[in-house]
């Protein structure tokens, strides 16, 4: 493999563009992800404005036709899951943190890692280009169910969906490479003395997420190829007239799609699990219990997928078994959440920005978690399926790991990434705006769902039941919330830029944390560790009686 890791690369291109250094690749993923988050956020703004002022021209976008609306909804979902959550949470954080946290000089396969990023970037370009092709971008929902997405005759554009499939397939290939790298690195590159159960929770959860991704995505890759052949070659895999079956694609999609939720959730939970002990100055509550709960979650995530399809025409006798597994998966997740809460108990809590976002993530996630029970109950799902209740539920379940945990991670690891501290005041303002406006955006959607407001319609006024002041007011609230949420990110972006230029210089261990990444300078040099660290203990020995300080780094000699 690449021994180039020993020699720092020279020149701008070698150092920042075609770099095999995991820290550079992490930042490449990070900035690509932030850029795509801005695109996805803009699409969210278009959706909200269209629902509140249907038919009117939207500032910055223009008039939204029904054709455009479907494409906007589709691309918002696709981008936020595959081009924001995955690159930022899985790729950027895992790339940056796994080698540093386990005391390795780089990933196991640095060149494969670089290839993974470039394939990902290619997939991004392909996806963005689909906005500009004749017929417009894919407009079949982020699930791209055939037959709608299986033929240009049904969905309009010949190019949009094909490019969408190609982009998603390239992205999967990129993350398969990344996933193999994360797993082998964590298993084989650990510093001497670091047993598997001395790894930080972040590393564990990233590894489990990567494994879940690798094992669930295969059938969908096959399904995506089949869908592409249906479109391009004229096969009939999902065309009932040719003996195919549209439901088959739904199964393949959700066999991946539901584990994917945990692929995104687990790294977010990993971030929270790193931050809570540091700012409570207390060991994490039940380290092994959390990791075992993660294993159970990972395994169970493979047997719950059909809860997305209760009323999709599947055999109704499947509903109750899948409902039971679905509802049971709340137990390991509850173990994780309660363990995190118990970490606070008798701690000494400092409300720095990373901690605020970590606690905010838990507070918001609780609502996303409990409303999953509504959707996971088949009989209740008859009413709630495809309504705004579902929309509210999955935003409450995914925004905490994807955005709150990501912001927490940024405020926490930014000093390590860039060598400067982020501004604390702007950070608190960012948190307050994000927390308040997030709830203002999505709480009304639960009520809209109860009123029977279905998803993915471009104009609620078409329907008698939705043509009233109540619905209008709720849409108003949600739109104000969404705009506030987007504007609330300005302090963050300003903070990023300002701190990069003239933030306070960060010392090696500004948070007085235990894990190995804090034992090297901020930012770490090429090759990370000047001397091979040796690990003597687990990662969460805070306020340990063995030490006079309130922390005890993993590599401090006993």
């Amino acid at each position: 493999m690449a021994h180039s890791a020993h020699h720092p690369p020279v020149g701008f291109l070698g150092r920042y563009v075609f770099s095999t250094d995991h820290k550079v690749i992490a930042k490449q993923y990070l900035f690509t992800g932030i850029f795509m988050a801005l695109v996805g956020g803009f699409l969210a703004y278009v959706i909200r404005m269209q629902l509140t002022f249907p038919g009117e021209s939207i500032p910055g976008y223009g008039h939204v036709s029904f054709v455009h609306y479907n494409a906007v909804v589709t691309l918002h979902g696709t981008i936020m899951i595959f081009w924001v959550a995955m690159p930022v949470l899985l790729a950027a954080l895992a790339n940056f943190l796994i080698p540093l946290m386990i005391g390795a000089e780089d990933m196991a396969f640095p060149r494969l890692n670089m290839l993974s990023y470039w394939i990902f970037l290619l997939s991004t370009v392909v996806l963005l280009s689909s906005f500009f092709v004749p017929g417009g971008a894919a407009a079949g929902g982020w699930t791209s169910y055939p037959p709608l997405s299986g033929s240009a005759a049904f969905s309009g554009g010949q190019w949009g969906v094909s490019l969408w499939i190609l982009a998603v397939a390239l992205e999967f290939a990129a993350f398969l490479m990344g996933g193999i790298n994360f797993i082998t690195t964590a298993f084989n590159m650990r510093a001497p003395g670091m047993k598997l159960f001395d790894m930080p929770i972040m590393v564990w959860l990233q590894v489990v997420a990567a494994i879940v991704f690798m094992l669930s995505v295969g059938p969908l890759i096959a399904g995506a190829v089949m869908l592409l052949l249906d479109r391009l070659v004229g096969t009939g895999f999902f065309d009932p007239a040719a003996g195919g079956d549209p439901l088959l694609f739904q199964h393949l999609f959700w066999f991946f799609g539901h584990p994917e939720v945990y692929v995104v959730l687990l790294p977010g939970f990993g971030v929270i699990g790193e931050i809570l002990p540091v700012f409570s100055r207390k060991p994490i509550f039940g380290y092994r219990m959390i990791i075992y709960a993660t294993f159970v979650t990972g395994v169970m995530s493979f047997i719950v997928w059909a809860h997305h399809q209760f009323i999709a025409g599947i055999d109704p006798r499947l509903a109750t078994p899948f409902s039971i597994t679905t509802i049971l998966i709340s137990v390991p997740i509850a173990i994780m959440v309660f363990s995190y809460m118990a970490t606070l108990w008798r701690g000494s809590i400092e409300f720095k920005t990373p901690m605020l976002f970590a606690l905010g993530a838990l507070a918001v996630f609780l609502l996303g978690g409990v409303t999953g029970i509504h959707n996971g109950t088949p009989a209740a799902d008859i009413f709630l399926h495809d309504t705004y209740f579902v929309v509210a539920h999955f935003h409450y379940a995914l925004i905490p790991p994807v955005f709150f945990a990501f912001f927490a991670a940024m405020y926490y690891w930014f000093p390590k990434m860039f060598g400067r501290m982020l501004n604390e005041r702007l950070g608190v303002a960012h948190f307050v705006f994000t927390f308040f406006f997030m709830n203002l955006t999505f709480l009304p959607m639960f009520l809209l769902g109860f009123m029977g407001h279905q998803r993915r319609i471009a104009d609620p006024r078409v329907f008698d039941t939705l043509r009233n002041a109540q619905v209008e007011n709720l849409h108003w609230l949600a739109t104000i919330g969404a705009i506030g949420l987007l504007l609330g990110q300005i302090p963050f972006l300003v903070n990023l830029v300002m701190s990069l230029i003239r933030g306070e210089r960060a010392e090696a261990n500004p948070w007085r944390a235990n894990t190995l990444e804090w034992t090297v300078p901020s930012p770490p040099g090429h090759g990370n560790f000047e001397r091979q660290p040796v690990v003597y203990r687990g990662p969460y020995e805070y306020s340990s009686p063995e030490s006079s300080e309130d922390f005890l780094p993993q590599n401090a000699a006993p």
Binding site: E105, L247, F255, D315, R317
Partner: protein
Amino acid sequence: MSRKPESSEQASATAGAHAHPNYIAIWSILLFAMLVSVLLGELEIPGFTTTLIFTIAIVKAYLVAAHFMHIKSEPRFVVLILASAAACLYFLFIGLAPDTVFGPFVE
């Protein structure tokens, strides 16, 4: 800083630690098994043939995996990796079967 995995890879590749199975014998068994399944395919005894052909395929796959891929001499962990992938497929198959095979289809 040394990269231990690399050096141990070299070591395991050159040491020749484990005794080699008789590869030619296994290859001959595989060819014979293939011949049997081709002949069975020609016979076409309903039900029986299909079962037997796929049993033979599984045996062949086992022989290749165990002896050519050396899974037999690998740590259990490798079996766990591959078995977990197979287990996921098992879930997929079970979940798919009721809808894909027995739906309320209209012809």
